[in-house]
């Protein structure tokens, strides 16, 4: 909504946000119809070749099927070994640099003065006419002001208040899964639990909680942004729906506050309680941007780490034994799961000036992709990186949360959710056996699962 945002900001008090988004959608449709605006690339799946058969310059790690076909490890290893700062000059997302080693990624992430997060952190842009502004894609000082406004929601102090509630949600879900017969862990546990936790964090109507995960999926899966299977029409419809539902929720809480009722620990109550953010609804782009950021940030990431942990413990069954013998390893295992899975594969930057990096010259204006998923498997920094070790030394040093000013704001919440999940799993189950090949998400950004069939054995004691 970059083009439209000044208009929307001004007319916010007159026309509800969701109706304005619908208007923007119709405008874009009409524009594309009349002027034949830039067409959206359609991704057709074909099997990826063995990376050793490709010339270096032909390697394109923006291919949204690289994770789906589980070919990513060999592709990134070749780049790390032979061309750690790699230029792809004609991908469907335009030309871009790939940074694949741990130390180089750390350098780029730390230097926001050299590498800008604007206008967006995905390889591709957002759908035309629907560019929501969020602080993950802003540079300091604007970034700092906006982030500080919402940081308190997921600050450790607040999380302590929520721990018991989150634990009861996890217990409900785990108590309801079938024992001894195959089911999809993704659908039944990971999505269900993430939806319940998001509904809890937002104090969103509980019966509508599945919408939160659906909205987040749509927001992260448009083809022009990440190579996902979504559509632009769907993205607009969802943006309008999110704006409508969350405006309603805001007004409800605002009325409660005005009536002198006590506010809770949910996101909107905290925003209403904070001097800097209590009028955020009057800045609709900031409001919508923050909602979508927290929604997407809290969805794919935790969901796929919840599934990734089960997958990892099946590939490394000795670690499962180790875990059962010593549940105090859970916090360390949580960090190891987040490294091993790396649920978001990268963050993208744009060079603000010419920069020399590991023998290559990145030109001002070039796109630079920090492949966390590769840095987390860099043999130069991490011992036996493809091994999943729940007692790994320095497990916390992974790149999955990013480093520098954009470091994941919800990292403590993510760790707490995963810790609670595994504490509750160990109380109930003796084994979670993966009974079929996992199915993976089509995306170059979300490294996750669409299906993981498992069979559970309950504890006998």
């Amino acid at each position: 909504m970059k083009v439209l945002s000044p208009v929307i900001e001004k007319s916010a008090s007159l026309i509800p946000i969701h109706l304005q988004i619908k208007g923007a959608h119709l405008y874009q449709k009409a524009k594309k119809g009349i002027f034949k605006g830039s067409p959206v690339h359609v991704f057709k799946e074909t099997p990826l070749p063995d990376v050793s058969t490709l010339a270096l310059e032909d390697i394109d790690v923006s291919n949204p099927f690289l994770f789906k076909q589980n070919r990513w490890q060999s592709y990134f290893k070749r780049l790390r070994d032979e061309c750690p700062v790699h230029y792809q000059k004609e991908s469907p997302f335009g030309p871009f640099w790939s940074v694949t080693r741990y130390e180089d990624i750390m350098f780029v992430d730390k230097h926001h003065d050299l590498f800008s997060a604007e206008p967006i952190i995905s390889l591709g842009g957002q759908p035309e006419g629907l560019a929501i502004e969020t602080f993950i894609a802003m540079d300091p000082p604007k970034h700092d002001v906006q982030r500080q406004a919402v940081q308190a929601v997921v600050a450790p102090k607040n999380l302590k208040e929520m721990e018991a509630l989150i634990r009861s949600r996890a217990a409900e879900v785990l108590d309801s899964v079938p024992i001894g017969k195959p089911f999809d862990w993704v659908e039944t546990v990971s999505i269900e639990l993430t939806s319940r936790m998001l509904a809890t964090l937002f104090d969103f109507p509980y019966e509508k909680r599945h919408k939160l995960a659906y909205w987040s999926d749509v927001a992260a899966s448009s083809p022009e942004t990440t190579g996902g299977p979504g559509s632009t029409d769907e993205a607009f419809t969802v943006a309008a729906e999110v704006a409508k539902q969350f405006s309603l929720l805001w007004r409800e809480k605002e009325a409660k506050k005005a009536a002198g009722e006590e506010l809770g620990f949910d996101l909107i109550s905290l925003l209403l309680a904070n001097e800097n953010t209590k009028d955020m609804i009057n800045r609709p782009m900031e409001f919508l941007g923050n909602i979508v950021l927290l929604l997407v940030g809290g969805n794919d990431t935790t969901r796929n780490s919840m599934t990734g942990g089960v997958h990892a413990l099946n590939q490394f069954p000795n670690e499962f034994v180790k875990l059962k013998n010593n549940p105090s390893l859970i916090p360390n295992m949580v960090s190891e799961i987040i490294r091993w899975q790396t649920p978001l594969a990268y963050m993208r930057r744009v060079a603000k000036e010419d920069v020399e990096l590991n023998g290559q010259t990145i030109k001002k204006g070039d796109k630079v992709v920090m492949w966390y998923v590769s840095g987390n498997r860099d043999e130069r920094t991490i011992d036996q990186p493809d091994h999943f070790m729940i007692d790994r030394k320095n497990a916390r040093n992974h790149l999955s949360f990013g480093f520098g000013v954009h470091r994941c704001m919800g990292n403590r919440l993510a760790e707490m959710q995963l810790r609670i999940l595994w504490e509750e799993i160990l109380k109930r189950f003796d084994n979670i056996e993966v009974v079929d090949d996992p199915q993976y998400v089509q995306s170059n950004f979300v490294k996750g699962y669409t299906q993981l069939m498992v069979k559970i054995t309950a504890k006998t004691s």
Binding site: M106, K110, Q148, A155, P156, R396, R407, N411, R412
Partner: protein
């Protein structure tokens, strides 16, 4: 050889020897002081080795740098003498120094 004292948020005290050449963060990690995570391993890039230097010692350690403030400014527990301990090199002049740990790292 001098030593320094870490005081956890709950009041528990830990006294450890100074090892010149190491950072305060490394000293804490090597001695298993709870409450310091050091997620970035000492690169001043995560903010999870936050400590609060005793007022009497901030002259010796110096105040937080601009680089540190980029990470510290996002932390609601930040106070005037907050530092990232990975950015404080240890020296013998710090014998008797008192360091307080925040309730949370984030």
């Amino acid at each position: 050889m001098g030593n320094i004292t870490f005081i956890e948020h709950n009041g528990t005290q830990h006294t450890v020897d100074i090892e010149e050449g190491k950072s305060l963060m490394e000293t804490a990690m090597d001695n298993g002081i709870p409450g310091i995570d050091a997620d970035c391993g000492g690169a001043c890039a995560c903010g999870t080795c936050h400590v609060i230097v005793d007022n009497n010692w901030i002259g010796t350690t110096g105040s937080s740098t601009e680089d540190e403030n980029q990470m510290l400014d996002m932390n609601p527990e930040k106070v005037g003498t907050s530092r990232l301990s990975c950015q404080i090199p240890m020296s013998e002049t710090m014998g008797g120094m008192v360091i307080r740990l925040p309730e949370f790292q984030m």
